[in-house]
Assembly symmetry: C2
Homo-oligomer: 440 residues x 2
């Protein structure tokens, strides 16, 4: 993408309303714009990151055997009356009446609707296990939305729902998502630690939050240092091997890890002093096993091998991609701006033409722009006639992993400079060596 | 995807509530499920088609230079009060109050919001032309939603908005979208005819609907037969060449074409009898040029080359991907089910194992399943132990372009059968020849 034809509204001043660094940087980098309290547009740069994040989530959900569908944002209140949550949910639920005065709502989550889909079609244990997920906008009417997309009212959510014949199979479905989540966050460059969690309005008896450590985190968390060095399963992990999954989950839940609400002083004191890590954390995923909480009142039953009807065992599994973007920035930035982990960067490479109009600069840039794209790189090509300082500041602010800088002297000599955004390391190399270097 | 692990809830009976063939077939093929009046879930097969359709739309929008962002579904009523449409829009707009009793609405379209984004960041004619688009769920509270996703209340829409300094540049932006639309529909296997159209609540003086002919169409249309043979611009079309675009648009608007509302008996009578085509049509896209209708009241101005502030000239351009799926089916089906054009089929190939458990069948199928996927085919592999008749009926119903049928006798002899869904032609060939045949 040529910057001259792109829409990247960088803000020079730091917006006053932004209280946390991710919110400030997303506004300054032209990623988002607030349309009303807790309602955000994702501007083109933000949309690209959102797409990268959802692509990784989708790939890992698919790999684990979950199947994607798409439920509407608007739901009928009647469904929620069946589960008993319509009255329980309180003012966070955005309630709506249509022109015929029927009660609707903007879905804050989809347990009821997916259970309704399940009960409409599935009759036999032979069709299990089943895990259905979608990635759709949700709405929760927070009293005081803030922190940008970290706590917005309308937000994107990937929510998966598992259906199984008994507790054992259902626990395997839970383990499957647990492992998929470990892989998902690792691919985004995040170290996410699963912590035993409270179940809140979703309900159930088994639940983990996936927490990343960031000094600006919203809550206090306590965990064993071992988590920092634990190895995330590779892409060859066998999602049909219940034993292998259970053993991974065991490994990842053995050392102490808890959020403030679930913190257990006695267990914490048993962790050797030097191994204790008390830090701030941000929740990036939450998984629940809740058994028959919805299937029983809503009549989602299947016939088992013995011919008897039983309500299915269910779990639900959420990641908020829009919120996740803010969390990634909280965990990865410096004074100059965002530092995108490779997997989620809006563009892989920023190509900076220091002097558009200079024949050497233009020739080198045009050649590199074509070559980089030909091998599949997403390139943002700064072809605008602006000051050097502004060019560097913008590139650092938007945080692309690699900058390729083409100045008139270098271009004449057949050289370009590359800069690694994360380390700040700069190096000059022959134009002809660049492609090999970037594919390394 | 193995059918045994997929969620494809085929209905044996024809649903009574479905009045048109696309609605019937989408329900029977397990593509959609109605959750409430005018609210549909896209089940996994439907979601796949929706993704294919939006991918083509996105590629052609990007090719034309439009830039993707994503605006929220919920909007503030205040924005619509600025343009004067809040009161005008009537009961089709879903109006909402949040917990603080602020007036919100579920966006039926986004002229106001995108104009607000524009005026917040763009100051100079140098930043034009600009075309911003998004693909987002919209809501229009139809009095009587029906025909499935053809006329649902919540529906997906790609809406693009162009901003230009003067009428001439703005007309080029219009032409750009016009050409992008011709290409978009052609890639979906549709022959879409642009027809001069009424502008309705969007406003403006220049507008075309893109209409496909289908005997089940919602309205009567009148056009010259020449349209049936006109050639759609190839992917090399130069979107920066205003003259070339204008000439394509001229070619495509010269012969008579009008919807019922815009029908002109005198002009129609001037078309030779043998060249007249009066038929039923379905609207699949709608483009508008409306000048300063929103930019003026909302103060979206830029400084021109002469230093004076002028309100920008705007247009908007819509395609409804969810509705489009129904339109494609209306135009492409037979008594046995859907016939997907290649570009939008949920899977390219259906691989049918006639006797799972038979060693020869399983070996041939496993090999073909792996080979087909390795070269990038999306394959639905029917590995279920069901009757031959049911297998064939399902494959025909869901309409994948090519079926590869592996029976025990053929497999033993090293042969498979392929069936072309559109023509019904069947042919037996050696297993080793299949890959070359499908890549042809």
């Amino acid at each position: 993408m040529r910057l001259s034809r792109y829409f990247l509204p960088i803000l020079k001043e730091t917006p006053k309303e932004a209280e946390i660094v991710s919110h400030r940087l997303m506004l300054r980098a032209g990623m988002i714009r607030q349309q009303a309290a807790g309602l955000y547009s994702f501007l083109p740069l933000g949309k690209r990151v959102l797409d990268k994040v959802t692509k990784i989530i989708r790939e890992e959900q698919d790999r684990s055997g979950a199947i994607e569908l798409l439920m509407p944002t608007i739901q009928s209140a009647d469904l929620w009356r069946e589960s008993g949550r319509y009255d329980d949910y309180g003012k966070e639920m955005l309630r709506i009446q249509d022109r015929h005065e029927r009660d609707l709502l903007f879905g804050p989550t989809n347990e009821e609707m997916v259970t309704d889909i399940f009960r409409s079609y599935v009759r036999s244990y032979k069709d299990l296990p089943l895990n259905l997920y979608h990635i759709q906008w949700k709405f929760r009417d927070e009293v005081r939305p803030r922190f940008g997309v970290m706590r917005s009212r309308e937000f994107l959510m990937k929510d998966a729902y598992s259906f199984d014949i008994d507790y054992e199979a259902s626990k395997t479905a839970y383990d499957r998502m647990f492992v998929a989540y470990l892989r998902t966050f690792a691919r985004m460059g995040l170290k996410a630690i699963p912590m035993r969690a409270d179940t809140g309005p979703i309900g159930g008896e088994l639940s983990h939050e996936f927490i990343i450590l960031a000094s600006t985190g919203e809550s206090e968390v306590f965990c064993h240092r071992d988590y920092l060095d634990m190895k995330v399963p590779g892409e060859g992990v066998d999602f049909s091997d219940a034993g292998a999954l259970a053993s991974i989950v065991e490994t990842w839940t053995m050392p102490y890890a808890a959020t403030e609400e679930m913190h257990d002083e006695a267990a914490w004191n048993a962790v050797p002093d030097a191994e204790r890590l008390a830090a701030r954390g941000i929740e990036v995923g939450h998984i629940f096993h809740f058994g028959t909480k919805y299937s029983e009142p809503m009549g989602a039953t299947v016939t088992g091998p013995d011919g008897k009807e039983v309500p299915v065992q269910m779990g639900s599994y959420g990641i908020g991609p829009s919120r996740l973007i803010a969390a990634i920035i909280e965990a990865s930035h410096d004074d100059n701006g965002i530092i995108w982990p490779k997997g989620v960067a809006p563009f892989d490479v920023g190509l900076v033409n220091m002097k558009p109009g200079d024949a050497d600069c233009d020739a080198v840039c045009d050649r590199l722009y074509a070559e980089l794209q030909a091998v599949g790189h997403d390139v943002l090509y700064d072809d605008e006639d602006t000051r050097a300082g502004a060019k560097f500041a913008t590139m650092d602010l938007i945080g692309l992993p690699v900058q390729v800088i083409v100045g008139p002297r270098g271009a004449k000599a057949g050289e370009v400079e590359i800069k690694d955004r994360a380390t700040g390391a700069r190096e000059t190399l022959p134009v002809g060596d660049l492609m090999a270097r970037l594919s390394a």
